[in-house]
């Protein structure tokens, strides 16, 4: 006898059915225009994030950890990870302005110059990396001082 497929929690099924019904009601309207393009964006957003963006930054992160580990500096990972991730995050959010791809509409809509976003992002990134380097240097200095204090004085 083949096992019957399990049903699972009836409450969960009801809840999800209700959710699908509402999503369907809105979805019919969402897809009323160019439905193929909208579906591509909706599903594409999930796939692009889960199968491209996340693996990319995860692999990059693991490479950094491994490289620092090989140099015996594994515990310093955050000093590289934090500024790199913050800089990348700002680029991810503001890339249309930073790359200048919306220069013309931006200029004609706002009356403002679209120059400067790239420069500002680069300067913020520079400050982030410099700040991290400074903290790392201070930590090194403190550790060295503490080690010196602990070392017995030899005459």
């Amino acid at each position: 006898m083949r096992p019957r497929p399990a049903l699972g929690s009836p409450l969960q099924i009801l809840l999800l059915a209700c959710s699908f019904a509402l999503a369907g009601y809105a979805g019919v309207r969402l897809f009323a225009g160019d439905w193929q393009a909208v579906a591509l964006w909706l599903v594409g957003a999930a796939l692009l994030h889960d199968l491209v963006l996340l693996p990319l930054y995860a692999v990059a992160d693991r490479a950094v950890v491994r490289a620092l580990g090989a140099a015996g500096r594994r515990q310093r990972t955050m000093y590289v990870r934090v500024p790199a991730a913050l800089s990348g995050l700002l680029l991810l959010v503001w890339f249309p302005l930073i790359t200048g791809m919306v220069d013309r509409p931006y200029r004609s809509a706002t009356g403002l110059s679209a120059d400067g976003f790239l420069a500002r992002w680069l300067l913020i990134s520079a400050v982030l990396f410099a700040g991290s380097a400074l903290l790392l240097a201070l930590r090194g200095l403190r550790l060295r001082r503490a080690a010196k204090r602990r070392r017995p004085v030899v005459h």
Partner: protein
């Protein structure tokens, strides 16, 4: 067994981060539960602020059906209402991006888990997760692109973002209802492990599917990782919020579209949504000789030159411009003719709804409707001056509407025609 081959993402052993676990995911989930709810509510509020049920020209989603069940007449008090709700919507949305990314990272092993479904309920839940993740990323992406004027999405922003929000929120509510008990349990468990003074009482390994069976040695604690996510949110907040607060803080919004400098200087040197050039305004139509304001009402039609308008009683009000894109200006000092005085001119002592038409050649809101309560407010003006000087072409010369608490696009610039009582 094939499933346990750690080279495959379907195997729990493939995922090595020591950070993943129910506590980490639960903290991020609770932040998103609160944050996304605020985003959804302020989004619905923004739709209501357009008064879409007043006239077709105000409604970008006329097929909404019951999704507009909550609509109400948008008030004019407090006059900074839309500035607050929409500034909150956009700024909070941008601030939550790191939390969203961290949350998705923390649960990604589940995406690859096999078997794909172990029951009907589980299968439905996984389909719902596609709507949740796809819908959520869709909402954040369209929002972030729209505020940067990068209109690459397939269709008009309004229906995509509005209907997309309902699809996302339907999945979001189901997900929250299904997962909240687990989240509360894992947060409570963690608190019990820590004594009253924060010291660790027991150190039993955290149970749960998200915990890696063969974790790498940590490079940061879970608490440290949360600080990292919070810091990323803080960075986005401080480089964005200034575009909604204005004044000297605008300079701190380093990467936000309406941060940094104000356009030009002097009395007209405040943020612009659409320039005269963009709107296709010809200087020949707005000159003293050419321009006439056509006012229609119960008693017929009146044509007024700017000089005639200036002979009417002029009033002042200090009101901000607040855009759907989330940026706003501080209060500007407007001076002009009260809308209700113009209504009285054409036979309405009790002001009715108003249909406003602009000289603007293109743009969704070159025509807009204002509700009677907005027309009747003594601060609602057909403004001719701002901050003591004539309006500049980019701010709507020769005359523009300014209404307390109304979204920026309803403050029509380059006004040509006012029709009272008939929308």
């Amino acid at each position: 067994m094939r499933d346990d081959d750690p080279r495959l993402p379907s195997s729990p052993g493939f995922w090595r981060s020591p950070l993943r676990g129910p506590w980490f995911t639960s903290v991020l989930g609770v932040v998103l539960l609160v944050g996304v709810t605020v985003l959804f509510v302020t989004g619905l509020v923004s739709y209501a602020a357009y008064n879409p049920d007043l006239a077709r020209v105000n409604d970008q989603t006329p097929d909404k059906g019951i999704l507009g069940f909550y609509l109400f007449a948008w008030p004019t008090d407090p006059y900074w209402l839309y500035r607050l709700t929409q500034g909150l919507h956009v700024t909070l949305g941008i601030t939550l991006i790191p939390v969203l990314l961290a949350k998705l990272w923390s649960v990604v092993p589940r995406l690859f888990a096999l078997p794909p479904a172990c029951s009907l309920a589980h299968a439905l839940e996984r389909i719902s997760l596609l709507l949740l993740v796809g819908g959520g990323l869709f909402e954040f992406t369209t929002g972030v692109l729209n505020v940067q004027l990068d209109y690459v999405f397939p269709g008009s922003f309004y229906p995509l973002h509005f209907y997309g929000a309902w699809v996302f929120f339907a999945a979001f509510v189901a997900h929250a209802a299904l997962k909240l008990p687990t989240a509360v349990r894992s947060l409570r468990r963690r608190r019990e492990e820590h004594g009253a003074h924060g010291e660790r009482v027991s150190r039993a390994p955290e149970p749960g599917e998200l915990v890696s069976p063969r974790p790498l040695p940590p490079t940061v604690s879970r608490r440290g990782a949360l600080w990292f996510v919070g810091g990323a949110s803080l960075l986005l907040l401080v480089t964005t919020a200034g575009q909604s607060i204005g004044g000297v803080l605008r300079r701190t919004a380093l990467l936000a579209p309406h941060g940094g400098a104000d356009p030009g200087g002097g009395p007209n040197g405040f943020q612009i949504n659409k320039t005269a050039a963009y709107a296709g305004i010809d200087a020949a139509e707005t000159g003293e000789e050419a321009w006439r304001l056509v006012v229609t009402g119960r008693t017929g039609t009146v044509r007024l030159s700017r000089a005639q308008l200036l002979r009417m009683p002029l009033h002042s009000s200090a009101l901000p411009i607040a855009c759907v894109e989330g940026w706003s200006t501080q209060d500007q000092w407007w001076r002009g003719v009260r809308l209700r005085d113009l209504a009285a001119l054409v036979g309405y002592d009790d002001p009715p709804d108003l249909f406003v038409e602009s000289l603007q050649r293109r743009g969704a809101f070159r025509r807009a409707a204002l509700r009677a309560n907005q027309v009747a407010d003594p601060r609602s003006l057909l403004a001719l001056y701002v901050n003591g000087e004539e309006l500049s072409p980019d701010h709507g010369h020769p005359a523009r509407i300014i209404v307390p608490a109304a979204p920026g696009v309803l403050n029509t610039k380059w006004v040509a025609r006012l029709t009272f009582g008939a929308l």
